[in-house]
């Protein structure tokens, strides 16, 4: 994992968790089980999670607590999943969403 993970902290302890593999845009990545998808992606250097509806502008997370809808992604085929609160699981398939994402009816 990259240098964005905090290994030592003067106040906090981050207990070691289980590493899991997941897929981002088809590419295999590693993160910790139970952390939000956005945290795992950020630690892996992925900041763009979404593209805006009208202008296709890149979007990352903004509030990180499930309020703002800036981080909506397609997770295991389901669009509009909040990557900042959805927990990472082994084998998850995560994709960037454009606008509203694919219609569920088309699946």
């Amino acid at each position: 994992m990259t240098g964005l993970r905090i290994e030592e902290h003067p106040v906090l302890d981050f207990p070691k968790r289980k590493k899991v593999k997941f897929f981002f845009e088809g590419k295999e990545m590693e993160g910790y089980e139970g952390e939000p998808i956005a945290a795992a992606l950020h630690a892996a250097g992925v900041k763009v999670l979404h593209h805006s509806l009208k202008l296709g502008r890149p979007r990352g997370f903004f509030c990180a607590i499930g309020n703002c809808s800036s981080c909506l992604m397609i997770v295991d085929g389901v669009p509009n999943v909040r990557a900042c609160t959805e927990k990472l699981r082994e084998g998850m398939r995560v994709e960037r969403q454009v606008g509203r994402g694919p219609s569920l009816a088309a699946r």
Binding site: L4, P36, A39, H42, L49, G60, F61, A64, G66
Partner: protein, 366 residues
């Protein structure tokens, strides 16, 4: 399921309200969308001020832990975590979605302690990934152990901006500067001194002009402001940052209150639209109470006290405690609250609450 009190929001205000009500015999349900109770306390690694019996000298995370443990040990309280409140219905029910799907719970009374959300400010590039709310930065690094980037521009020198700058340094992230549009620093001097001792410049009368980057933030330009808060051309400075952190204030999260038909009013000193409520934290819809940032942007110590007042008022309304005992205890809490709000930095919120009091009194008089 029917409860005597349904609390929406398990932060300092909601938990304090739930505890106070339950201790007086009220059957309570708490609904919170996070997995862990505590609200924003779960990421506050700094020590609190105020009085020792109100948690001064204790880190926010520890205050959250104590509240959480007290709530979990309280047999009158049922906790629904990982559960979102989707809507309030006029038959006193709340639609919730949790791990076991969508269901409905009803309450004789409600306490909406739904907190706040971060305010966005306008500048070119403010939608780029890398522009994050200060709360988001805190969550990412203090809860999940991930740094937001390597180098940060902090916008806003209120307590949140100062504290998060300090925490960024604790996590090993550089803070290039803190810019503040006003001529003076917004937060407590003790936080500002801590940050300055670390060598982080606090630039008053400065703001961000624009963010640079194609896919995400690759830099920022700041500039000086004149007396009318306009940027002064020629004073621009480029900063090599990959994160722009916005600590430009919070606004109450009132969606459920609006939806429940509670009367709201715009009070800029309290962060935006807030519910109109009386000295017992009860809104104009009888049985709906509010506390914490949803009732006006303040801080955790006052949120806990307001929560307690609301919890006590619920117990009194439901006839669990005699009126005189309620008034006695409420007055003690109200005095404590007034003392916490007596400092010079609270003058803004005092003005805000006076506006609400005046509104309530005006309506009672008419």
């Amino acid at each position: 399921m029917e409860y005597e009190l349904v609390v929406v929001g398990g932060g300092p205000a909601g938990l304090s309200g739930a505890l106070k009500a339950a201790q007086n015999g009220v059957r309570v349900a708490i609904v919170d969308r996070q997995e862990e109770l505590g609200g924003q306390l779960v990421k506050q690694t700094h020590k609190f001020f105020g009085w020792s019996r109100r948690g001064a000298g204790i880190r926010g995370i520890e205050i959250g832990r104590r509240l959480r443990n007290a709530v979990l040990a309280q047999p009158h309280i049922t906790v629904f975590t990982g559960t979102e409140a989707l809507g309030y219905y006029p038959d006193n029910s709340l639609l919730i979605e949790g791990p076991s799907g969508v269901s409905r719970i009803t309450g004789k009374t409600f306490l909406f302690a739904t907190g706040a959300q971060e305010r966005m400010i306008l500048f070119p590039g403010n939608d780029l990934p890398g522009v994050y709310g200060a709360g988001a930065v805190q969550t990412l690094m203090n809860v999940y152990g991930v740094r937001p980037g390597r180098s940060v521009l902090m916008v806003g020198s209120g307590n949140i901006g100062l504290i998060v700058s300090y925490q960024l340094r604790q996590a090993g992230v550089a803070v290039r500067a803190i810019v503040e549009a006003l001529p003076q620093i917004g937060g407590y001097a003790v936080h500002a001194s801590k940050v300055r001792r670390l060598g982080i410049p606090i630039l008053t009368r400065h703001s961000i002009k624009e963010a640079h980057g194609k896919e995400c933030v690759e830099g920022a330009t700041i500039w000086e402001l004149d007396d009318k808060f306009r940027g002064i051309p020629g004073t621009e400075k480029d900063l090599d940052v990959d994160v722009i952190c916005l600590a430009t204030g919070l606004t109450p999260l009132g969606d459920l209150l609006w939806q429940a038909g509670v009367s709201m009013t715009y009070v800029p000193e309290l962060g935006g639209f807030v519910p109109i409520y009386d000295e017992n934290m009860e809104t104009e819809r009888p049985g709906i109470f509010v506390a914490g940032d949803a009732a006006g942007i303040e801080e955790a110590s006052t949120a806990m006290l307001c929560g307690e007042i609301a919890g006590l008022a619920v117990a009194a309304k439901l006839g669990k405690i005699p009126r005189h005992r309620f008034e006695e205890e409420r007055n003690v809490l109200a005095r404590e609250l007034a003392a916490l709000r007596s400092g010079p930095l609270s003058s803004k919120v005092r003005t805000g609450y006076e506006r609400i009091r005046a509104l309530v009194q005006g309506r009672r008089g008419s």
